[in-house]
Structures are given as C-alpha cells and as structure tokens.
Symmetry: D2
Subunit: 391 residues, 4 copies
C-alpha cells in the first residue's frame, strides 16, 4: 500500500490517493469526516480551525460504499480558497494584483527560509503553503481508511495527549488497554485529548496563561495499538524493522522532533533487570509478556503486546512575541510576524500521530498478508493467529 | 545509493554490498578497519569483543583504491566460525552431531520467540544468529564508506555517548563543534566514548558495580554532523523528510528504542519563546541561526546548522540475573540463560549510530547531486553552496 | 519523481498526483489539454471518443502557471458520469435500483475474469471500470507535464504509428529526426498518426473493411526522443538500465504485448557486422555514432543518439463478431457481448506510448540532476553537456 | 524479495545477496552449480567459457541446507583473477606496473564509451569489467534459488532458443508444455538449447560459417513458466502489471533489445478475431482458455495459462571483422580490437532469461503470499488455488 498527498493550505483542494487497499472493505465518508473533525478540535486552537469543517469527498476506488481494489482518491475542499482565488490561482498568469501578500520574511522554526533556498523561491508563500500543517488533513483521511481496514482484522489504534507544556497525564490513571473502549471514551471526551482530567484542568490553565503571554506550547502525544499479531516487521535488515518505520512516520509529522517506544528514553536510566518483559505462557493465551516496557516490539517485530509509541511536538514557532529574523529581499533584520495564532496544537497532533501509526501498521499487515480482497486477508490473518497460538 | 547486509553471527562471513557510490572516491581498507575497531572497543564489553579483530576485505567495486561506480562488496570473516563449522554449516545436511547447541529457550527482550513464530523455527539459533548485534558490524563498514564520501564534500559525522546508566555528560563541557576535531579527539580518547572525563569516571564505576550485580546498562548516544548544505530533504511529503529518515535509521539499530533531534523531548516542557532558533544574516556567512534547538532541521530539511541526533539504547536484555521465560519445546517455565556477557554496549552503539547517520546523509546527498562521478558531485555541491550564500 | 493515477471509467473523475517535478516550470492546462485531445483522435474510433472532450483541472502544485515543487494534482471530469451517478456512486448504499448493469459475462482478452477472481468480485463492472483504457487519460496528462519539463532542457519526444493491421509506414519515408519538427507536423496532420500518406490511405481502407466485418486491428507504435545527453541509466545493475525501464513503461500500457529498441527483433536475423553503430568523432560534435541500429542505448544507457522505441498493441478484444465465454454466475457458455466499438485504437495508443516514454525519461533526468528547481537543473544539464563534449 | 549482484569480470569474486526468501526452503549448491553450468554451455562459445567451471559458495542465510529467512549470500570465485591480481587489485595503489592493459579504445555496441563519459573514466577497463556479460552469472545463481522456491509451489520455468541468426525452431514441433519435462529434456540435450533438432543442425552450420567469417549472431530466446495461479500482478496501475515487470527483467539482460509476450509483434498483423483466447469452463478445471495467444497475461495479470515470453539478443558486438571507433586519449580513429571471441551466446542467454523470469515471478509470488516461512506460503497458495477453482 502506498499513498500520496497533495495540496496547498489556501489552494482549491487537498487530495490523497491511496493504492493497494483490498477490495471489499466498507468505507464511508462519515467515519473519515469524524476523524477530520477530531483533528480540528482541541483546546488552544485559534480561530481558523473553528470556521472550517473539513468534509471528504470520495472520488474513486469505492463503489456503493465498498472498496474496489483500485486507487482511492479522497479530496477536501479548502473553504478559505474563496478568499484566495486570485492569489493562489494555479492557472492565472502572475499580475501585480494577484501577487499581493508576497512573503519575504521567513519565520524562525518554519520551513520558509530553507524552502525558499532549495526551491529558488523569492515569495516564501510558495513554500509555506505546502509546509503548513494543513497538509496533515489528508494524512488523517488516509489514516482513517487504514483504521477501518485494521478494524476489520480486530486491530484498534488510538492517539491521545500524554504531556503538554510540561504537565503530564498520570500514567497510573491510564485505563487498562483491552479493546481501548474506556481509554477512547475518556480521551474523546477531553478537549485536551487526555485521560487524566486533573492534568487536563492544569493544562487548560497553562494554555490560557500562555496565550495571554503571546507564547506557545509543545507536548508529547502517545499512540497505542492493540491486538496486532506477533511477527509484523523483521530483524533481518535495517529496512524491515517495523518500529523503525513507525519512527519515520512519527517524525515526518510537522513539528515532531522525537519518538520513543514503550519506556523509551527512560530505559537509559535503569539497570536492565528493572526493565525486562518476561515471557509467560498459558495454554489458553499462548505466549505473552509479563509487562510491556518495550512498547510491543522485540527485534523490530510486533510481539503481540500493545504497541506504545510516543512523539514529541515542539511548540508552534509562531508567536505573538516577536522573534528575530531577516527579510530575504532587503536582508534587513525584523521581528517575525504572526500568520496564525494557535497556542498549541498538541491535541490535534495526537490525531495525526494516530493516523500515521495506522497507516504504517496497515502497510505492514498488507505486506505480510493478502492485499487484494478483504475476506481473503481476514482468512489469512485468522489462520496465522491460530498458528501462533499453537506454537 | 542502496545497500544490503548479510551474515549470521557464527556463520562463515558477514557481507555488505553497496550500490550507487560514485566513481573516483579513494577507498582503503585501513579506514574501514579503523571504524570496525572503534565499534569493538568500549568499557563494559565482555570477552568476545576482545578476541576478535574485524578486518574488512574489499571484493568488488574498487580498483587500485578508487571506486568504480559499480557495486562495492565488503566482507568480514567471523574467526569464531572455526569453532562452529559443523553447527552453522550452510551446506552440510542436518545430523545429530551438528544439531547440538539447539536453542529452545527464548530470552526475554530479544527477537528469539517472535522470530521463531514468524519464521516457523523450533531451533531459535536460526533466529538469534541473525538478530544478533553482530549484524551492526557491516553497518559500520558501510557507514565508513559513506563517511569517506561525505568527507570528500567537507561533511563530518561523529557519534559519542551522552548518557550511560542515567549518568549524563555535561552539555556545558561539549567543545565547540566547528570541524569536530576537538570533540573527536576527546571522545576517541575515552573508553566510554564521551567528552566529559568526570562523567566517564562515574560511568566506569557504575559499570563495575553493575557488572558485579550481574546487571546491564543502557544509555543515550549522540551523533553530530557538520557542514551539510541547507536544503537536503523536503517538507513536501512524508517520505521526503530527512529527519524522519534519520529516525528510521537510528531506531533500526538493535536495542534502540527512541530518537530525538536537537532539544527533542525537552521541547515539550518549555514555552516556544525559549526554544526558537532566530534567523540571522551577515554578508560573509549568509543566513544562519542564532542557536540550534532544532538540531539542524526545519521542515524536514537541513538548515545549515550542525545536525544533532540522539538515540536511546535499552540495557542489553541478557543478564546474569535470571529472568523468567518459557521453553518453546516443553512449555515449561525456566530462568533465562546467559549467552554473552557485556555489561553495556553503549560506547560501541555510538559508533553504529554514527554509521547509520552517515549512511542516511550520504543517501540524501547522492539523491540531490550527481551520484556517478565524485568530481562532478563535488562541482555541483560547490555550485550549490555558492548559490545558497548568494540567496 | 513518482506519480499515481486513479479513477474509474464511468466514475466521477480521473485523478493523477505527481510528486517531484522541480519548482519554476511553466505549466498550463492548454498544453495538457492539447495532448488529451491528441489521445482522443484517430481514425477507427467509435462514438464515445467523439462526444467527450477531456479537460484537465490543475488542483495543486502550481501557482500562477509555475510549478511549486510540491505535488501536482491533475483532474479530468468524466462527463459520462452524469448518466452513471447512481450505478457508480462511491457513497450510496447498494440497492436493487443502482445495481443494474451488473456484468457477469467476462470478455475474452480483457482483465474481467481474472480481475473478478483476484479481487473476489461477482459484478465484473468492479474490474472493468478500472482496467479500461480510459485510465490512460491520466498517463497522457502526466506525460504532458513531463514533456514540458523535458522541453525545458531541449529534449523532444514524439509518438506515431509505424504499422497498423499489418500495413507498415515505409521507413525510407521517415523524415530526418533533427528537432522532430517535420515528423511532428506530418504525424499530427494524419488521422492515422503516421508520416507515410500512402500507407495511411491503405490503412484507412483496411479499417473501413475491418469495421464492416465487425473485426478489430492492432499495430505497432513508435516513439522517438531526441537530444538526450549520453549517460542516463547505467549498466551496473538490473534495476538501473534505462532501456529496461522503458520496456516496463511500454508494456504497462493496456493491450501492449511487446517492445523493442532500434532494430529490435530484426537484430536476430542479421550477422553482427551489418548492425553495428560505429563510433565517430569530430571536435565540433564530440563522439557520435555512424548509425542507430541500437535505438539510442548502449549498456542500458543513453548514448546521445535518438531513442527509438517500438511497442506492439494487440487488436482490441471486443468484437461485433461474437466470441465464446462463460458466465461467472451461471457457468453457462455464451457469446461475448460488445461494450464499446472502436475498430482500432492504435493512433491513440501512440500518444499514450509517447507519454510513457516522456515520464520514464523525465524520471531518469530528475534522478541524475537536481530535481528541486528548474534553473538549477538546467545549469547542471548544461555543465554536463559541456563535460561530455570535452571528453 | 530484493537482491543485489556485484563483481567485476576479472575481479576476485562475484557476489549476490538475496533478501526475503522464506525460511524452510531446501537449498543446495548442487542445483545452483547445475544452472551455472547450463549458462556456460552452448555451441559457438569461445575459449574462456571452456576453462571456467563456476562453483557457488553459500555464505549466509542457509543452515544445514535450509534457508533461514535471513539474507542469502552467494559467491563465485573468478579463477581468472589469478592472472589479474595486480591489475585488478582493489587495495594496491596504482603503479606503472599494475596499470598495464589500460583500455582507451571503446568498442562499438558496448558500454565502454558512454560508461567512460558517465563515470569519468579514462581507462575503459573500469567500465567493461562490470558491463561484461560475466555479471549474468550471479543472475543465474539468484534465478536458481528462485526456481527452487517456485518448484516448492509447483511452478516450473524453462528457457530455450527459439531462433538463432534468422533460423527458427519450428513451433509445430514444440512439445506440449504440461509439466515441461519433455521440452526440458529436449532442450537440455541440445547444444543450441532448442527443441527442434533440424533447426539445430542448420544453426550449427550457420555458426560455423559465421565464425569462419569473423562475424557474430544474435537470436530470440523463449521462456515458458507453467502452473502459476491466475491473479499475480494487477491492472490497477503502471507499476503493478506483472508482464511489464517481466519486460523490464528481460531487457535488462546484456545485449537484449526487445521482449514480447505470446504472439507478441505478430498480433499487429492479424485481425482480432484470429487472435482471441476464448474463455472455457468445466467443473473439473474451472475456467481456462481455448488458446494462449496472449502468453498467459490478461490485464497485466497471470490468467492461469502458461507464461510465454520471448526476448531478442543482438549479435555480440565484438567481431574479428574490424569496426571503426575512436581512441578516447588520442581522438584517432582505429579499427576496434577483439577482447573475446564468442560467435554467439544465445544458448547461454536463454538460461539467463529463464533466471530473470524466475526472479520476477518469485517476487510476484512473495508479494502476494506469505514470504516468511515456506510451509505457510504453501498453505496460502493451496487455499488460493482452491478458491480460484470454486469461483
């Protein structure tokens, strides 16, 4: 399975094409729209998010709510484009009128300056329109399709906020993972997208104070995935390790600067004897682990325990507090301007991270099992689970 | 540029083939052997490392010390194979005699159990021979070739230990990066492979105590790369972000459970105003940043500042302290046995991480510039640097 | 550079997304529409082609007629969809009303039967909607973008008909290739898309007679590409040979069953002394060849001579003459029905083949040279041409 | 499954590494050596072939004759290297003594000149050592492994000579394909590697005469593969068509200039009604075709009929008859010299083509079915065949 996303932040439409989803999967716009809405929520967002309600159109690859096996095209219209028709027109020639809102002042911490250098642009709008986090809309749409596929083989994926601005949800309050229903209910209810209501209250206060100060906040998101069979990914080479692919997927999200599995960086500080996941066995369960410090991976392979991935998002580098930068046209120093105004986007980023995990896991499943027809895939997965249980 | 590594831990030889290194690069076994030796050092290793002295043979792709542009084959003989000739023979039929040393007791935290399930093995030796960290030998060899390529365009890469068993080197003591000469000298001199002699002393003590306790230690390694031109990688898609590729490369190393760039997970705890890398300009230097919280990446692209990547290695999950596991043949619980005896391999892992960063950066360079002939590559890089300076 | 196409024959829209076209290329819908129109012409087509006038919409990746370096989305609306809205609806649930026009009778020579087996479909419409040659519309659109890129470095590509139904254009009448202007004018003027007016007249008669007989015709198309620098592709491995990639591109076209380069299969029948392209040199031209039996390739690399590729298209396997097949629902034999009515599509296929060659050559160019910014690409190509001339 | 080959014609060793062969396959050097020997036979070869007897060493990925799932390293020693140790040394510095046998005279029709330009070589030995057909040795070794895998699911592949120097084997004499046993026996017995003894006799005479005349001969090889299940490959995109991948594989062979499937280029000359493969059905056989004009492919997918691929090999462009060329050092015209002396290599090329088909089919099988463990793969294939039979 492979996919491409396309589209500029203020262009006419965002597009994704997904190739390699099996035929026979029930797919509706409603579920995708629900995930798009989840991405648009969260305490601490500015105004733009509130006015847009992203709606997906399914353009190909689906007929009567069933996938065909052929490439699936998803599209989301940018309602904002109405106000940018001339400025962002693909087809109109450049004129003085439609070249207003040129950007020559690169914002620190954004792709603006390097993008301008790499692509030889003097109007940095030509960079920021694509490097914008608006692009993650289509990742969420693709991820939603992948979640529906994974659900068809009993795999659940859920992203939430573990830490925001230095305030952590208390791991002791994390509900049993099981089928993720409790955790899902708790985090969906929360505008911080966390399971710990006390932490959420403190985070809300911090966001309010930070907003007042014209500052921004980053955080740590966590994604869990349950019920994956052991043996996805492989130790045999650099390219086949599934945790490594997840690491790429997470760090590829705008503003993400790190990723860890299970206890992650915490593993550096304890002796090994405190961090081991012992192997247990009962005839009913087959092999399982006594704990999950390793976040569901051994040797780059799923080991049957829940996958636990965390990613860190830096604070949005667009502040009301001015930052030093230099105009690319005049070479004059200036104080960086503000184009948008979220105080934090970490709750939304949890939804994006969830999507990236779902995409990567779906790719691993489709690589190991039949990718042509859903019921054949399901039969193979069932046979494999049975085989594992009898090992 | 792509490569494959092959070989079992006690098999006859380890092999790597690299395709796509430009013609005209001077390449000698000496430099590769020096890097292989660096990987074999480090305080806290057991006995095996001391007796082996890995030596590379260059089998193809090089003539009279110059690369030809054709695939380069590197090979390292496993001296141990002399003692395993029958047991590991590729060509002898299985007999009672050569099937001794069968492994049916999977070690927690290793690939043993899942590997056995996935590949339908009842002798887990068939898994652990490949999942062993012995495989990283060839990554270091490939990385050494890549470092020689990068050096030809002025790029330096260096890996070292930042933290071990919870004891950190003091960032305030980190030498100015510059051309990495000072930092290189300091870390090469250290059997902990760190620049902070005080921390090293404490770490040595901790290793001694841990060894005595039959326990193991993990840690955090750091890799820096200097003098890369801005604009490698791209924001335009998930697959083109270079930091994301580095994340995959680091997490693909045996026992690595996380990766971060620049301030990494620390970015979650500070308001944005404290973590921004302001943009500055002088006619002499062109554009540069006032700090490097982001570790050399903006929008998934190099920004011209040094690349700073850190990876966390879990403690080696093979303890003298017994761990619970279950025999796959008898389904009886047992206390896991010890096959090797390093207390920590973090100093060696720093060399492996350095190699993975070098490989990934070389791939990015060869993707953007001519990959056929070294002097053409150098000319293009020089022209590009000039163009960036004039932006 | 990579791309994906999507869309069903009677679905709402066809889509293509192209990633990796350099920034700064002038791109307009007009040129793409002109190529789409070329694909819709040709003597011997049925009625459907006459009523549709494909028009491309550029949805992303282009602003004010200049590429941005970000993914380019192209879309063509299927006007027919108006008549198929219910039957092909992605989002409506299946009902008795919208499930009419179900196909259970696989046509010989089409993907229908195998597609149904592979994707577990009982309504073969779910296969034929994607396996239809309608899909080639987007290849032509992508190819048109690639041709505009190639033109910016002086490379021209042109496809035409060499043989149709056994009647060949006379190679002796082929105009000098040069900049392809004469050949282009001649073939664009011809509704058979060939340069030999006498052959065209005979072909027209054959088509008329064949149509009357309810039969169909195949043929051979030829694509030439001029002014490519020597050294694209490489001999170093299976995957790096550029002629092999072109072979894949050509055979991937619907109904194409073979491909050859230069004298192709004719080379089997002559002794080597008659087929050699001798190497010549003048200070003005540098190295060149005295002939072009090899079609512009030596060792899988362009050699600076024009590329000559030919592909064979089988007759359209949908006849008014009935063919034996078997209903998948009833298992009853029947005479295959006719869904469309072209007598031949070879002239259109020449345009598709031209597109596939353009795409493949553009990929080779962007792999060897800078793929970020057009003027940097042009500078590198110019420097390379100079280097070759001085070899 | 992916693989890399490496090695120079007179270098120390040739190497191949194959990643992704399932665990549990029985693999011995004997079968590979037998295929290597088949490649070295054939009427019309010069002396070099007679003295070398290629022997493979299995270096990794196999234990006690069973694959492990880890990368398989194969190596063949070049016995000639004994005479080239200094000249081809990877590690010795260049000196006057070891730089003899420098090549500055590019041979027409070879990669020499373009390779020199591309890789900036002034000694064309640095090109021809890799562009030599010696490289195909490792393709045959890899192909042999793939044939052993395919045999484990009942798929057979066989290559032979269909035409040589314009003399064709008579298709009417082609034995029934069935399990290929008769055809295999006939072609293995023939030093022309063809099933038609009369044609073979004439070809032998032609080779003798051609040799005397100092000339060379090309030809057409044919590869058949039987018992593949329907539905490998897909119509959904350019990249998923399996016949297109086979086309790439065949044209990637040294000196191959074209490929066709089934009736191939012959399809251009007949009306469609004469070339259709009607669909038939019996409860015992399920669906099948009444003929096989399309060579086993419909819509880029296997259709259950035997695969029929043909490739054309140009005459070896190294003649005793001198050819015009130009020295790259002096720019003086000269008559091209002879480095080797085969009159034809078409019988050997049939073995190489067989290997390339086997590799490509094995990749398709491993993409669709489990690639981890042989018995799981076999179970999935068996279930799939059953499903197809019940369609």
């Amino acid at each position: 399975m492979r996919y491409i996303t396309a589209g500029e932040s203020h262009g006419p439409k965002l597009t994704a094409v997904i190739e390699g989803i099996p035929a026979g999967l029930t797919l509706t716009a409603e579920k995708i729209n629900a995930d798009l809405a989840r991405r648009q929520q969260g305490y601490g967002r500015g105004n733009r998010m509130k006015i847009e309600h992203d709606q997906v159109e399914i353009i190909s690859g689906v007929r009567h709510q069933k996938t065909l096996g052929s490439p699936i095209t998803l599209q989301v219209t940018n309602h904002d484009y109405a106000h940018w028709t001339d400025i962002m027109s693909p087809t109109a020639e450049a004129t003085a009128e439609n070249s207003i809102r040129q950007v020559t002042k690169p914002r620190p911490g954004h792709a603006d300056l390097v993008g301008g250098q790499k692509y030889q642009q003097r109007d940095l709008r030509n960079v920021l329109e694509r490097s914008s986090a608006r692009e993650t809309t289509m990742r969420v749409a693709v991820g939603s399709v992948c979640q529906q596929l994974l659900a068809a083989i009993g795999v659940e994926v859920l992203g939430f906020v573990q830490q925001l601005g230095g305030i952590s949800a208390d791991p002791a309050k994390l509900p049993e993972l099981g089928d993720l229903a409790t955790l899902r209910a708790a985090t969906e209810d929360s505008d911080i997208r966390t399971y710990d209501a006390d932490a959420a209250a403190k985070i809300r206060e911090l966001i309010d104070a930070t907003k007042k100060a014209g500052d921004t906040l980053g955080g740590v998101v966590e994604v869990v995935a349950t019920n994956l069979p052991a043996g996805l990914g492989s130790y045999i080479s650099t390219e086949t390790k599934l945790d490594a692919k997840l690491a790429q997927a997470i760090v590829s999200i705008n503003a993400f600067k790190g990723v860890e599995f299970g206890d992650g960086f915490g593993l550096a500080a304890h002796p090994g004897s405190e961090d081991m996941d012992e192997i247990l066995y009962t005839p009913e369960r087959g092999f399982y682990r006594g704990s999950n410090h390793l976040g569901g991976f051994e040797g780059g392979m799923t080991n049957g325990e829940p996958i636990i991935v965390k990613g860190v998002m830096k604070p949005i580098p667009t502040l009301y507090k001015p930052l030093n930068s230099v105009d690319i046209a005049t070479k004059q120093a200036y104080k960086a301007n503000v184009e948008r105004s979220d105080t934090t986007a970490v709750p939304a980023a949890a939804v994006v991270a969830e999507a990236m995990v779902a995409i990567t896991l779906a790719q691993a499943v489709l690589e190991k099992f039949d990718a042509d027809a859903l019921s054949r895939l399901q039969a193979q997965v069932a046979a494999y689970r049975k085989e594992l249980a009898a090992y």
